[in-house]
Symmetry: C2
Subunit: 160 residues, 2 copies
DNA sequence: ATTACTGCAAAGCATTTGCAAATGC
DNA sequence: GCATTTGCAAATGCTTTGCAGTAAT
């Protein structure tokens, strides 16, 4: 556990400082180990990453002093998902996208067909209606996801 | 174009009879060809398939007189999606699920974590709110999808 | 000391693609 | 006859896994 985090931007350092103890608690509850690799991955997730894919993260951690292998990145992201620290979006046909959920309230996504941008939006009314629908079907919700596909304002403008 | 559809159940035959001309029209508009393989795939999609995956469909068409190769099945499903005749759901971690949309009004899904069952539900109010959200973000919707993950009534009962 | 975790490279799996032969136009 | 589509099998790309070595408890 001797991983240097002094050069992190203040904002990132703060997120990590809050999120890491939660992950540690989660790991201990699971009788899993608190390892350096797991801290590096968590730190990287909270560094300048809004939406990212596992492979990019793995690439970033593939060299330099804070090296973590691809396999471990995937394994750790799965743990972080289980811990509720990241969210996975698998709707596009390419590969899964992740985002960190810590200090990031629940929201849904619009994905632009043209530029691939993720636009976040939240709607409490929709949430209520979804809860209602679950009740009607006696379905116990664990999680939900809304994705809207289409064209974003910027791309529409560009098209003329 | 000498493909025998006489043994199809009445209901299926009817769906095919209605959907096929739409697909033909779509193909012509696209300067693509109206082929036997495409008709076989479309027919199979409308046969006893609520939710299915490309690979199962390919397996069903891998032998017998109405043979279509895996590659063609994937290619044709992509065309059918473009034509708006099938819908793809890519939220589970395994593989994409398809469903035909013809004679099947728009709806969303609940997926049971335990048994994998797809439960369909529709909610007009949610649709309206989604439209609203798009307007607010100047996003031009092409399509949307809601998926709720959790436990279905049957599995909850089984658990006690 | 014991047991879990990591790295690596190899395997897996759904999906896509290149190319020669077949088919629709 | 010409261009597109098909079948096949090989390739692709993301993700998972087996195993020997390494680190955490």
């Amino acid at each position: 556990m001797s991983f240097d985090e002094q050069e992190l931007p203040e904002e990132v350092r703060q997120s990590v400082e809050e999120a890491w103890p939660l992950f540690v608690e989660f790991l201990k509850k699971k009788d899993a180990r608190v390892t350096q690799a797991r801290k590096i991955v968590l730190t990287q997730v909270f560094s300048r990453h809004d939406h990212f894919c596992a492979d990019d993260l793995a690439a970033e951690l593939s060299s330099g002093m804070n090296h973590v292998s691809r396999g471990t990145v995937y394994r750790t992201l799965a743990l972080m998902e289980e811990a509720g620290l990241v969210r996975v979006i698998r709707d596009t046909d390419v590969h899964a996208h992740y985002e960190h959920t810590f200090n990031h309230p629940h929201h849904e996504h619009m994905i632009c067909d043209k530029c691939g941008q993720f636009i976040e939006f939240a709607d409490d009314e929709i949430m209520v209606l979804i809860e209602q629908a679950c009740k009607e079907h006696e379905f116990e919700e664990r999680n939900h996801r809304i994705v809207i596909f289409g064209t974003c304002a910027a791309c529409k403008a560009k098209e003329g």
